[in-house]
Symmetry: C3
Subunit: 342 residues, 3 copies
């Protein structure tokens, strides 16, 4: 399937600079571009590649000013990454066939309710009283426990496990191996040094348009619900403890861990390998650098934080500058001490 540069520009509302009749049938990263391909330039770090890419066309920002000659046709748009993403979506729509049908090798409990146009893959189990919404796709080897409700147009990839009473909204994507609704980590210490298991009787509730990464673990609440709100995007290998709340459109990168009962606000952005202590409240719009450790409430909105324990990013970076110079600071103090003594 081929499209001209002109057709693509129309699709994404861009303006062409150069030959708009070139034919495109492939996507390339700008540094690997070849004839017949289209690439994009969003991160300035990659600008050098636009002057030597083999791609026939490159999507760039309106504001882009070339510092050298470029062989490719340019399509100028407001937000190149977003426009490229629209293009990929169109491509996917044309190429990916929708999975539908229920495998004879799946186990569907007679009390389960399957809506129309669902797909249930081989060796998957849909247990008692669970409901799968219209158009949802359940890959092979998925486990859906009792009383689980899944909305419309969700995708659950192979190996996903949803334990009892989990509720999932519409248009959610759960990646392979994610475990949702397992017991929270609750143990009451006893006098003899052993721990007694605290039953986890709550559940997990996911809103709409949520993405959960592969091999992530989201624990059910002790009582009440662990809640992830509409539009939140959670990466791979993330730990979400019992009774946690994650706000709307909050994005959490890989390997972050959130201890029990912490509430993260809306529109937050959390880097990879961040740790949150339990029972915290983190305000809307907080941005947190990778590997930070958040151990007290974040009350003010829209702060940018970094470090363990967290500080405001700028202050943390100033302290880090001097951390690197610590041997030098010691030397300066020693020099002062010596002079003093003379």
């Amino acid at each position: 399937m081929k499209f001209t540069v002109r057709q693509i520009a129309q699709l994404i509302g861009g303006e062409v600079e150069g030959d708009d009749s070139l034919e495109i049938d492939q996507f390339y990263k700008i540094e690997e571009g070849q004839k017949g391909g289209i690439s994009f330039l969003a991160n300035p770090k990659y600008e050098a590649f636009i002057y030597k890419t083999g791609s026939s066309a490159v999507i760039v920002a309106d504001s882009f000013i070339a510092k050298d000659s470029i062989n490719s046709s340019l399509i100028k748009v407001k937000d190149p990454y977003s426009s490229f993403s629209v293009l990929l979506s169109e491509y996917e729509k044309l190429n990916k066939k929708k999975k539908v049908g229920i495998s004879a090798l799946a186990f569907i409990d007679p009390t389960a309710e399957l809506s129309e146009n669902v797909y249930i893959g081989n060796f998957s189990q849909i247990s008692e009283n669970s409901k799968i919404g219209e158009g949802s796709v359940i890959y092979p080897q998925v486990f859906i426990d009792e009383n689980v409700t899944i909305g419309k147009n969700c995708i659950l990839y192979a190996g996903v496990k949803l334990f009892a009473d989990t509720v999932i909204g519409d248009n959610c994507t759960i990646h392979g191996g994610a475990v949702i609704g397992c017991d929270g980590f609750g143990f009451a210490p006893q006098k003899d040094g052993t721990y007694k298991n605290v039953p986890q009787t709550g559940n997990v509730i996911l809103g709409d348009n949520i993405s959960i990464g592969s091999n992530s673990s989201i624990d059910r609440a002790t009582i009440g619900s662990t809640i992830i709100k509409n539009g939140a995007k959670i990466d791979n290998l993330v730990q979400v403890g019992h009774n946690v709340t994650i706000g709307k459109n909050t994005v959490i990168a890989s390997q972050t861990g959130i201890a029990g009962s912490t509430k993260i606000g809306d529109n937050c952005s959390v880097g990879g390998q961040v740790g949150f202590a339990g029972h915290l409240e983190v305000a809307n719009g907080t941005k947190i650098g990778a590997q930070s450790g958040i151990n007290t409430d974040v009350v003010k909105e829209n702060l940018t934080l970094n470090g363990t324990p967290h500080m405001e990013m700028r202050k943390h970076q100033r302290s880090l500058v001097f951390f690197r110079k610590l041997p030098e600071l010691d030397k300066r103090i020693s020099d002062l001490e010596k002079k003093k003594d003379n």
Copy 2:
């Protein structure tokens, strides 16, 4: 099923303050309490909620003194969290039906031995010479390799994988997606820069009353055994390397990693995202703060440690205070230098 406040107080050995005839049929977090519900107050951080909770009853500590008027009946006990946990357990006993029976869709090797009252779910496999103890529950999609032994009254949730020769004691709970007995990470460097696989011929041994979190990985020993002792509780996404030993009643929070051959003592408590270097010995009763890095032996018992590399908690916190003030320290040195020069 309803119980009066009086009946509940009797069950958990507490004393009622207020109306003991109120009826309870639901658990609530104190901040979400409603009529007919019971809550508990253990963490002082949540005290404010007791003065406005809608719950009909709240379990509190003997020592609790109200600073304001409270609408709920109080049940006073020694340890509110523990008592609430007893209540949840009773509730679960009444409500959770025990799974029993062997699915026709499971694969059971003819040489496998299943004791009485076991449950084996759909699409699970019990391989050659493996044994499942009385009353154990094997959810669907569990893989049990050859020569695995599982004790009595264990629960293995969906997607658990136990590789060859693993031994599990009684009353253990293994959460979804946990992998036990996979190869340790052992590679011998060769002259040409490649690595040669070192066969991992040992196994994993778990004692009794152990909990392993979802998506955790516990590697088999190179030779001998990786050992987890009675009563240890391990959270989600934890890495336990080959030939590690974890002591009795030691609790390890999510995303912690323990490198090969390290021995952690009894009654330790380890925060989330902690890292242990290999070949260490960590004394009994050690407490370790989240995100710490332990890179030398911990010889003395009952220390509280923090930071990377670890320091005693108090010393680490003092250093952190000055880390935050580093730009200021630099300024003070500069001021001294200037005066000096005059």
Copy 3:
């Protein structure tokens, strides 16, 4: 099966000191050695055990000089760990029976191509147009999506998921629960604060002789490929983002995370729980200490780095020395300030 110390010495090209007629039929860790067993001593930390081990024989380095009397026969070799590993491999060859055959309980799509001598376990799925190379072993409950290609003599343990278009070379081992080819974490921010999913249309390509640890996640590329090169060894619970490249014979320990588009060179060695920011280039031969955070390019080869953000190991360790002394530095400054004032 028994061998004499002499036979073992011949097998690994070592020289015997002591009785070479003793019979060996078991491997032991040096600290747990018993009669009839063989151990090795590579890490000097364990030297004390050689003077009291019960093992009949111990493999030691040529350069080893005993400081006390030893009861065991010694086999002297260049590299004890490597020689011991050779021995374990021989043992495994004799004892492990090769799995072959295709389970009637697996789902094999009619368009899939299976080479000779493959093993496909129960409840595994091989989807459309996928190919399994000669001698490869697919454990039970493995999911292989469409258009996946697997080379010769690979082992995929239970619960592995390979998503569409993944390519795997020869002699690769993928441990239980690893997810390869799931979507990268790509979302384009919209004006209203929501995020739009960026389709991930690329794939994952693994070379030959690669090991991937249990419960690790390797994301497919947005466009192009996420690439892991020949001989790389990746531990458990590791996150590899979209469009990442990992070089030849690079070793990455558990729980490390690599953000999108970062390229790690050949022969690197990365400790556990390390984080890499996205879009970085890390030079060949870089060594990185556990829990480090790499947030800028590493241009020079063969550096040893540590800390967050990373510094050269020696410099980082000097700064850490003074971090521990920060309260003391403050005191010294205060003393100077006081004297000044007098």
